[in-house]
């Protein structure tokens, strides 16, 4: 057995191990009943994805994955869960009646993709500049040359999303000249009414015909 073969076998083992962790923890994220545990497994999935990036020699993306997804987003989700009242109730069901149908459709889609893509020979990926100048430098150069416009549009997108988040999370606005105290009081009352209902969101109460 030559050194090259050993290396290939090793990288295959690492790949399947990491992929197994990603798929397994992703399934746990959507099936676990406790939302806090779901969030922790989400972090694990993010982390294993970072490992996959490393096996692809994309160290920069791996670092970004850990920093942003595991570090920032994951912790943010945990904070949001801990700061939200009643969200930790274990009664929240994460599966629905159409669970079996959904599983069947997903499995069929997966089977179809394996059938089509497994048989097809993918041509070797052409050389890009990233190999010579390093991936971080390559990404930076592309972002400020070829991908300049999408890059700038993303920044506008983020501002828009920020404004939208503020609007959705806003406090009730004073209506037509009433003082802010009155508006706050009304908001508090509204919330009490909503909270006292058995299912506060009222989603089940709509009768709609499909």
């Amino acid at each position: 057995m030559t050194g090259l073969e050993t290396e290939e076998i090793l990288s295959a083992i690492v790949f399947y191990l990491l992929s197994g962790v990603v798929v397994g923890s992703s399934i746990l994220v959507i099936t676990l009943r406790n939302i806090f545990r779901s969030a922790l497994f989400l972090l694990l999935a993010f982390f294993a994805t970072a490992g996959l990036f490393i096996t692809l020699d994309a160290e920069f993306i791996a670092a970004v994955q850990v920093l942003i997804y595991v570090g920032a987003i994951g912790v943010l989700i945990l904070f949001a869960i801990m700061l939200t009242r009643r969200i930790q109730d274990p009664v929240a069901k994460s599966t629905t009646r159409s669970f079996i149908l959904g599983a069947f459709v997903s499995a069929a889609f997966l089977f179809f993709l394996i059938l089509i893509l497994g048989k097809i020979y993918l041509p070797p990926f052409p050389e890009t500049g990233a190999d010579t100048e390093g991936i971080t430098k390559g990404i930076g150069r592309m972002l400020l040359t070829y991908y300049l416009l999408p890059f700038e549009v993303v920044s506008v997108l983020l501002v828009g999303a920020l404004i939208g988040a503020v609007v959705i999370a806003r406090k009730e606005e004073a209506r037509g000249g009433e003082p802010p105290e009155v508006a706050l009081e009304r908001e508090r009352k509204d919330r009490e009414i909503t909270d006292s209902k058995p299912d506060g969101n009222g989603l089940e109460q709509n009768d709609r015909k499909h």
């Binding site: 089509i116 097809i120 990926f125 416009l149 549009v153 939208g164 959705i168 606005e173 209506r175 969101n201």
Partner: protein
Amino acid sequence: MVDIDFSLLLPELILIGGAFFIIALDLIFRRRVTWLLLPVSVLIVAFAMYVAIDLAGTVASTVMNTFVVDTFSIVMKVIIMLATIFILMLTDGYKPLGNAHQGEFVGLILLASSAMCFMVSAGDMVMLYVAIEFTSIISYILVGYLRRNPLSIEAGIKYFLFGAVSSAIMLFGMSLLYVLTATTNLGGIVEGIMHGAVNPKIVLVSVSLFMVGLAFKMGAVPMHLWVPDVYQGAPTPITAYISVASKTAGVAAFLRIAFWFAPMLDVASGEWVNILSFVSMASMVLGTVIGILQNNLKRLLAYSAISHIGFIIIGVIVGQEVGMIAVVYYMVAYLFMTMGAFAIVIMVADATGGYELNDYVMLSKRKPSLALLMTIFLISLAGIPPTVGFFAKFYVFAAAIKQGYIMLAIVGVLASVVGLFMYARVLKAMYLDKNDEIMKKPFGAIPPPSWAVVGLCLLGTLIFGVYPKPIVEIARYCCNLFGG
């Protein structure tokens, strides 16, 4: 260095700048100038539209082919901006929104318009994806804007979940295309596939997955499930906005990519046409048949929108000059008739407080002018002369028959006939049904800007329904696609 031709990007830049200007104006004057926001925003969009029209005739690209400008993109942008102007005018009379946070509401609408313009002009997969996500994220916020209304929140969440799934599928298709060609440029992909020995099956699979994202934006079967619920739950001006502007942007991107990719799909053309034909026929049939069962006007118009997408896709399948003219004409027609119908739905809901068919009973007695206008828009949606909707369907069917897609034309004609019944139910409620109780209820006043919108839509519906030549001439210029 990157050469950037800012003159090509100007309409989008004006919209983005205008959005932040409106939000800043509202904040600086601490919400004391809300009456000023709508006129100013209408002026901003009108100015952006003027700049866009000024670009007509240019066929160019900038920022290394990621942004493409040609007559087709300009016509589509004008439709999107006209829709935006109509929406802004309708927002004035829309009560559930109240006075609160109008600055943000208007600002987000302008941002969404700029995102849709980017979508129309995208010449690169990454640009297209960013534009689609931009449009979607702003739309989720606008759909769920009525925080106190459970239906609105439900619609927002549903829209978001469907959008996220379709984005994931689309990204998978895009990544396959990138693996095959090592470029994200749409023109580069065609070149890479044509010159490389790539299995046509994998091209077909990746392009189909790619198109799922656009099918979601257009609301075509099988990506239509969100349409009725979102249309029903969203604030009605936003429903109209998603129905017209967002759909126009989706159709524009879809048509551009279908036209560009046509040579590379030729090897698998039979299967590609089959896939599109299925989507088209399923949309037409499902939209009209289920539409008949609806008692809520917003849901009825949602199913009507699904069926219209089916007709539009026929034009994309046909391709070439006839197909292009059919699609462009259909989009113009769709703008006027759908916007008009939604404007009246908003007026009636503001005056009576409901969206159900029951609220339209005896409208011919209570408000004869509204009933007559609604009739005109509905017969246009059904495709009866002398309205713009008739020519829209006529050009689509003529194009299909000319290129030998007889089956599509037959299904289309049958779907139009069934669709007639769907719209006739509303006419029956307005003119024939009797209910003495409802006559006693007061009918509220209607704000002048809404009348202006309805008037403009009426003019568009009738003038182009009698004299379609100007639109056809403009559509003929659209055939000169950049790089096509």
